[in-house]
């Protein structure tokens, strides 16, 4: 089994949380559900939350249109519940507020409202802290404690609000804790799974999950058919809050490697591994990653990490949740800036190394795994629209983008570490806005730019610079696919730029 490299498909049919942008009637309470008494809702008034630890959070989100990078898509509303925590802040899922233009907090009992802004956001773990613009807004509210982590088998409460503001909680049984897919592809952390018969109510994009007065979890997804919840786990929330205290926020660390299991006895014999030892096989090490800096190499067998021995499946013994993937220990129980000792076996010899952890921001990848909260970069030259390839762009093809998006780009994204060992971006032609300068060229798109006017192109800035030096009055643009070369008349492109901008109502011809 290879980890970290493959995308994990969502286990649920439900797109996101219970009610995404468009509320629809919930199938909960159908005859099928009533026929099973054990699954009947166990709801009661959440009296412990009467003091007001839960707020309505209404967000108006507007993300960029990566197909037309100069404009934003139509705005949409997301409404969920946030948990008031210490420090005058409200915890929500990042997805509730990403690319938001406007955030409003609403007290359930009084209906009093205040605008808020995002104080800290982590898209990878899907958590965000909101701060009301008026600091007194949360003054008389009781913050929830986040210091207690539940055990598998605990009965938790999912908090919702009646339309009159009364908090209602539904009992949820914590059935398992395992590392799994959160919201962005390739980012997996400890995930709580619960069984819970949840009713549809407003403001359910995300919901706090509590145990007594302790905030335990935030709801990620709910599948009404199986009545199961996937939720952000307590250790992830604790890590996030701890790190959020120290600005600048660094993010969850990783080793920057992918590994395989070593269960196969024939493989163990070949690698001369004893049957009693565990260990995982290092498949790939990202250049400049914490693992690479610690000289961990492809083919090494990692035997222990941070003093925890790693079994052939890549699991360690977690005091709270038993056998868990070692990635939980690295990403969530450890922090950026920490040093983690690692024992490994290389060609049969033991070696101890120390890995200095840090977080790799999305901009440091050749193909950004996500572009959220910042606009896409683009440049338009003679009607040719150039962008930098990102997974956010590929996601414009919808949930099955890995099948629908241009295959060459999906391949580039998936194997970027192999294909592009050097630090760079992929600049590509996303479309042509037909005009007098492009007459005779077919409608081209999805082609990576290799050179412009003889200069290699590794990012949009290179393109902007190369544009300034046309060759004999022409821009020569070279692509990786046929037609491999396109010429533009540099003078005419400049003369026609204003008309082009007006014709297509482009607010700007570039954004870096």
């Amino acid at each position: 089994m290879r980890f970290l490299v493959f995308f994990q498909a969502s286990l649920f049919f439900a797109v996101s949380a219970i009610a995404a942008e468009n509320p629809s009637p919930s199938p909960a309470g159908t005859p099928a559900a009533e026929a099973r008494p054990s699954a009947a809702p166990k709801e009661h008034l959440a009296t412990e939350l009467r003091g007001g630890s839960v707020l309505r959070v209404n967000s108006t989100n507007q993300s960029y249109d990566f197909f037309r990078p100069w404009s934003k898509k139509a705005p949409s509303n997301r409404r969920g519940l946030g948990a008031v925590i210490d420090g005058g802040e409200v915890l929500v899922t990042a997805e509730l507020v990403w690319d938001s233009n406007f955030i409003e907090l609403e007290k359930p009992d009084t209906g009093e409202r205040a605008t808020a802004k995002v104080a800290v956001v982590d898209y990878e773990t899907n958590l965000a802290l909101l701060k009301p613009n008026n600091p007194d807004f949360l003054k008389d509210l009781q913050p929830l404690d986040t210091s207690v982590a539940p055990k598998v088998g605990d009965h938790l409460s999912v908090v919702q609000l009646e339309s009159n503001g009364t908090p209602v909680s539904t009992e949820a049984l914590l059935t398992s804790a395992e590392v799994g897919h959160y919201v962005l592809d390739d980012y997996s952390y400890l995930l709580f799974k619960m069984s819970c018969p949840l009713q549809y109510r407003d403001n359910s994009f995300t919901l706090p999950i509590v145990e007594d007065h302790h905030l335990i979890s935030m709801l990620l997804r709910y599948d009404p058919r199986s009545q199961t919840i996937e939720a952000i786990s307590t250790p992830v929330i604790q890590h996030f809050l701890k790190e959020a205290d120290h600005q600048p926020y660094q993010g969850f660390p990783s080793f920057g490697l992918s590994f395989s299991t070593t269960r196969d006895p024939q493989f163990r014999h070949y690698e001369k591994l004893s049957d009693s030892e565990g260990g995982i096989y290092v498949d790939d090490v990202e250049p400049d990653s914490p693992a690479a800096q610690a000289d961990i190499q492809t083919g090494d067998i990692l035997l222990s990490v941070g003093g925890k021995s790693v079994d052939p499946d890549g699991d360690y013994d977690d005091p709270l949740y038993g056998r868990l993937s070692i990635t939980h220990f690295i990403t969530t129980l450890s922090y950026s800036g920490q040093k983690v000792p690692v024992t490994l076996s290389r060609h049969g010899e033991r070696k101890d190394v120390v890995v200095s952890l840090f977080h790799k921001p999305p901009q440091d990848y050749v193909i950004d795994p996500y572009v959220i909260g910042r606009p896409p970069r683009y440049l338009i030259l003679g009607g040719l629209v150039f962008e930098e390839l990102s997974r956010q762009y590929l996601r414009e093809w919808g949930p099955s983008w890995q099948r629908e998006a241009p295959q060459r780009f999906v391949y580039f994204d998936h194997y970027q570490a192999d294909l592009f060992p050097k630090e760079r971006k992929i600049v590509f032609l996303s479309q042509i806005l037909p005009n007098n300068d492009t007459i005779g060229y077919p409608q081209l798109n999805y082609m990576a730019v290799e050179r412009v006017n003889g200069q290699p192109i590794y990012r949009l800035e290179d393109l902007a610079k190369a544009m300034e030096k046309p060759v004999n009055g022409f821009h020569k643009i070279e692509f990786d696919l046929d037609p491999k070369v396109i010429y533009l008349d540099a003078t005419k492109v400049q003369e026609n730029a204003a008309a082009l901008q007006k014709t297509y109502s482009l607010p700007a011809m570039r954004r870096f």
Binding site: S260, D264, F267, Q407, R408, Y411
Partner: protein
């Protein structure tokens, strides 16, 4: 994508009279062909495959030969030929088969068969809007059926039998129905085409296609050598030069002449003769127009049509501009091999090597369709085989296509659909390399896959112990087929 299906044409409209068609007896030329075919299953490559029977048409041409479609007789194990008004069935043999243009020659060894038959003669390309008569055995009855249609369009069309070739085809306004593929399309008593494919379902109505005589004549000329050599191809990608800036940048006059060479396939016949960036000005004396057409016989046709009419070993003369210098090159034309990865395979048993329950097969269209493989890298290698020149390192892309579960391979399931790179340090370029590597004696067999550093490891003792068990369990008739013997 529109799916095309084969088989003849059914008449829906017969509006105009056919007074100018001379009387002749088509019954003495047409035959009904019944083929019992065995189609191999690429998922179980050691099995001989499932047996099916299909019916098509054919017609006699000079030299006691029957002309029909390749798909009528493909994978045939037994071919029976029947004449009109003759109760006997004759055993037929495929003499030549051209999968790239869907044509085949069948003969009948019984000397009496051709005695009363009248060969048909090939006519010209019909003109647009002219009437044609279509003969064949479409569904709806047993007897010969005649229909009439109008020539709607003459253009390059994808030939769905191979799935990877395009040639000239003539579209007629009659729907195509299974059963009279290979049947002649006649005009003024001469063959102007062979009905061969149409659209299935609700995609389009009254659209049928026939193979026109230039393609048939090329096929007949090709097999005169005693062997079918396939179409030849320059294997270059030309680009139109219709953009004003592009013409000026290349220093070309504003005369609508010339196309730009974008790519030259490095293992094909134009390699070393043409280069990316060349501007092709004329081909065999025909001026190349900037939209990739040439004027042939008074009509503008695709530049490729000049090559389409040539045979293996023929030469083509090209005038070109390279770095503003005028050059003449002469290229000896050869068939292209790389594109065959995307063409349907017929008339051979699937190639494979089985070792320790691991089945290795070269990537082909048949294989991907059989397993419905969606693996990103496999799809990428398949689709970009030519433009990324993957054939250089992997003339055959060898896939671990299947694992027959057994204790010996219990932990290897994650390697399924990976592309083999090395076995015991030997680079794997073809299936034969796989067989040779496993023939070597070694304690361990380590199989490295493209893009994966962890190898799959098989211990020789474990493989030997599992050998008979796997063969028994899964009914593996033979452990490898390297394709040394073909069915024809």
């Amino acid at each position: 994508m529109i799916r095309s299906t084969f088989f003849g044409i059914a008449c829906l409209v017969a509006t105009s009279a056919v007074a100018d068609t001379p009387k002749f007896d088509v019954h003495k030329s047409i035959v009904r062909i019944t083929t019992t075919a065995q189609e191999p299953d690429y998922r179980v490559p050691w099995n001989p495959g499932s047996i099916s029977t299909g019916i098509g048409a054919g017609f006699v041409i000079d030299g006691n030969r029957i002309l029909t479609n390749a798909h009528v007789v493909s994978n045939g194990r037994f071919i029976s030929v029947q004449r009109e008004n003759d109760p006997r069935q004759y055993s037929g043999q495929v003499k030549f088969i051209a999968h790239d243009c869907d044509l085949a020659i069948v003969t009948v060894s019984d000397p009496n068969f051709f005695k009363t038959m009248q060969p048909l003669h090939l006519g010209p390309l019909p003109t647009i809007q002219s009437d044609v008569d279509v003969y064949g055995y479409p569904i709806g009855g047993e007897r010969l059926s005649v229909t009439q249609g109008i020539v709607s369009r003459i253009d390059f069309e994808s030939y769905s039998h191979s799935g990877a070739d395009s040639h000239l085809a003539v579209q007629i306004d009659a729907a195509i129905n299974p059963g009279n593929s290979g049947g002649p399309v006649l005009q003024n008593g001469k063959v102007v085409g062979i009905a061969f494919q149409g659209y299935s379902g609700d995609v389009a109505q009254n659209v049928g296609f026939m193979i026109p005589t230039p393609v048939i004549q090329r096929f007949l000329a090709d097999i005169e050598s005693g062997h079918y050599n396939r179409y030849v191809d320059l294997s270059i990608v030309p680009e139109s030069l219709t953009n004003a800036a592009a013409r000026q940048a290349l220093g070309l006059p504003d005369d609508d002449t010339g196309v730009l060479v974008s790519s030259v396939e490095s293992d094909a016949c134009a390699a070393g003769k043409l280069e990316p960036g060349d501007v092709l000005l004329s081909i065999d004396g025909h001026r190349i127009i900037s939209d990739q057409t040439v004027e042939l016989d008074g009509e503008n046709v695709d530049l490729a049509e000049v090559i389409e009419r040539k045979l293996k070993g023929d030469k083509v003369k090209i005038d070109l501009l390279r770095n503003h210098q005028r050059l003449n090159v002469e290229i000896e034309l050869e068939p292209n091999n790389s594109y065959l990865i995307q063409a349907n395979i017929f008339d051979e048993y699937p190639r494979f090597v089985m070792f320790g329950g691991l089945v290795f097969q070269p990537v082909s269209k048949n294989l991907l369709e059989a397993f419905q493989i969606e693996d990103l890298r496999v799809r990428y290698f398949y689709n970009n085989f030519i433009n990324d020149e993957i054939f250089k390192d992997h003339p055959q892309v060898i896939l671990l296509s299947n694992i027959l579960p057994d204790p010996v391979n219990a932990y290897l399931s994650e390697f399924r659909y990976q592309i083999v790179d090395e076995i015991n340090g030997h680079k794997i370029r073809t299936l034969a390399d796989v067989a040779n590597a496993f023939d070597e004696t070694s304690d361990f067999y380590t199989i490295k896959f493209v893009g994966a550093s962890r190898p799959a490891v098989l211990q020789r003792t474990a493989v030997e112990e599992a050998k008979e068990r796997i063969k028994d369990n899964y009914g593996v008739r033979l452990e490898r087929n390297l394709g040394e013997e073909t069915l024809r």
